[in-house]
Symmetry: C2
Subunit: 384 residues, 2 copies
Amino acid sequence: MAMGPRDVAVLAELRLRDATRPELAAATGFSKPTISEAIVSLEAAGLVVNRGRTAGAVGRNPRVYAINARASLVAGVDIGGTNTRVAVADLHGQILAERHERTTGSRVQQQVRRLIRQVHKEATAVLGGDGCALASIVVSTPGVIDRGSTQARFAYNVRTDGIIDLTALRDRLDPPLRVENNVNLAAVGEARAGVAEGVGTFVHLAIGAGIGLGIMHGGRLLRGAHGAAGEIAYLPLGRRPLAKEHRASGNFEAETAAAGLLDRAQSARWDADPPQDVAELFHRAEQGDRAARRLVADEGRRIGLAVVAVCSVVDPELVVLGGGIGRNQLLLESVSQTCAELLPAPSPVVTSTLADRGSLIGAVLSAVDDAWSLLQSNPKEASS
Amino acid sequence: MAMGPRDVAVLAELRLRDATRPELAAATGFSKPTISEAIVSLEAAGLVVNRGRTAGAVGRNPRVYAINARASLVAGVDIGGTNTRVAVADLHGQILAERHERTTGSRVQQQVRRLIRQVHKEATAVLGGDGCALASIVVSTPGVIDRGSTQARFAYNVRTDGIIDLTALRDRLDPPLRVENNVNLAAVGEARAGVAEGVGTFVHLAIGAGIGLGIMHGGRLLRGAHGAAGEIAYLPLGRRPLAKEHRASGNFEAETAAAGLLDRAQSARWDADPPQDVAELFHRAEQGDRAARRLVADEGRRIGLAVVAVCSVVDPELVVLGGGIGRNQLLLESVSQTCAELLPAPSPVVTSTLADRGSLIGAVLSAVDDAWSLLQSNPKEASS
DNA sequence: TCCTTTTATTCGGTTACCTTACTAACGTAT
DNA sequence: ATACGTTAGTAAGGTAACCGAATAAAAGGA
């Protein structure tokens, strides 16, 4: 049932680029006859298609083969604090249909199930009716997720009583479903379709309503012993690391994430009214407002300290700032400067370009990986 | 030349425990005839020896096979700030001979070469003359080592002008030589022969003359993008993370490592004379001296903050404290308490038991691994 | 037109496994 | 003691996945 190493190697190569048989032979190290056999079996399984021949060169023109990206579909789901997003993509990770709605606190599982059905239908329509079943689903949520679990635990969370449980969702859906931390998935997104493309070792620091860190090391996610790696809400930074007020939820997060920043903004002196939310604060800073700029620079220094701490521990090649707060370009300067001052060899710091879709994109791409490894262990499906 | 997967699997199993052919068949999943073939070829290569038969059970008594640990020898070298240690071990990592000398600042390479020769000769004598060549050498040094390099760089170091270069040493020695950071190797030591045996994901925090962190994640060393993971001298902790005085060498290290602790000790109030060195400080604290205990508790809180920072980033299963300062039991309480106060799920904190030989032992065990992977790619040597 | 170049397939052979069936060695019950 | 059951090891034959070499097919250019 499981396909052999030669088929796996050929598929891996074709996922990188379309290729001819001689190219595949050179790339995989297998002989030409072996590659031909692999092509035959993969074509029969519907995983590989012929894209015609090249032309122009001397000698017989080779046929070009490519992944059949429509062999199955996958879904990515991002359950956020405010929005829940669902996307359905083909095996290249190309998103065919996508929707979002406000998250319903208690009925998340039904909501997600309905959204998946709807988006799947839309994707099928996009493909012109010859759609096919979902091969895998990856769900992004905040919280700490034990390996293989469908439960996300929070040390402290008002909305959900400390837990999000997607067990019922998994049991009611046909394709295998995996739950992964949202910040980790955002890092995957950056690694495969964002500013960290081609960078094996980097961190993605997300600052928004909360604060979290996704760590990619040598192309692999770093999850830690209990899936809690990157839960840096508790970093003992700042003037009062031992303060008792926000210990439960983490002093650093309380100071640095949206609530803390807004607090400081509202108790600062303003020419006009204080800003109502963080977006307005950054908007004013962009307009040149002195008070706003000072607050942003201060926030940048705060974040900079976290970046310094993280860099000294994991030595990334790149630091990506994301999340509602972190993705503001205005922060870059003071963050970079803090690093430059405190680190002997500071890593470059850049801003995420995936906006608020990082986790969703990471979920989709992870689902693609899951689908491929499933297909490789039992290649029996084919539809288009 | 390279040995096949069946031989590799059999060797891997035998490295864990001696075993009979049926046991090997069950453990590796290969059939009995295949195991027999593997045994024949491995015995011929001198890598496996017959240890006789079991007796007592009903049925024919199986032969027991074991790794031939004497098939080659390996060397571990630890170049420390004050002492340079060399050990030669067999393929089980069993140390057969060991020496240490004070490190000679400039002539390290010659010194190490001489020590290796001497210790190798001693080890050969221990084996009763039928010794054999060294198959691999791993050298432990402080500093940041680029992948595959023989140079260790320091952001800041008085003794060595910022670099230790072992290229000449490697070129003059026959067996392959690998250079690795001393704290990383100490973590390897803890993982394989220390308090972290069987723990896949843990950190080893070494505090002595300097301060460093070795990170083990899922059984693998975490080196970071430039080999600088765990260089936590620059952690922006404490009251004045931005202080300029010790930026070059790292404020956290300056405060927390030996020099900083001694500074504080000497400017504290004492009934008698202030302690001359860190060892004396801890000795007095053990005797119950109030001032000493206060300083130790304060140091523990300082270290505790670093542990909290590290735990929130990498989520280890265990924290091991080592190094001349870190291994003092007296610190444990205040470190653990700081973690308990600031982390929602604090990892247990324990003290290293390898004393100042952690890096050496890690170097030896890494050299054993290197030797095995070399033997697996070209198994031609055999001696005893 | 034929020749050169490159692609694709066919064919025979090797390797590394497997299963089955046997022989060898041991403890124990008769 | 001898026969018997159990377990270890070996011999023989089969199969799948690969290889290299030879050959057939398809293209451009002399």
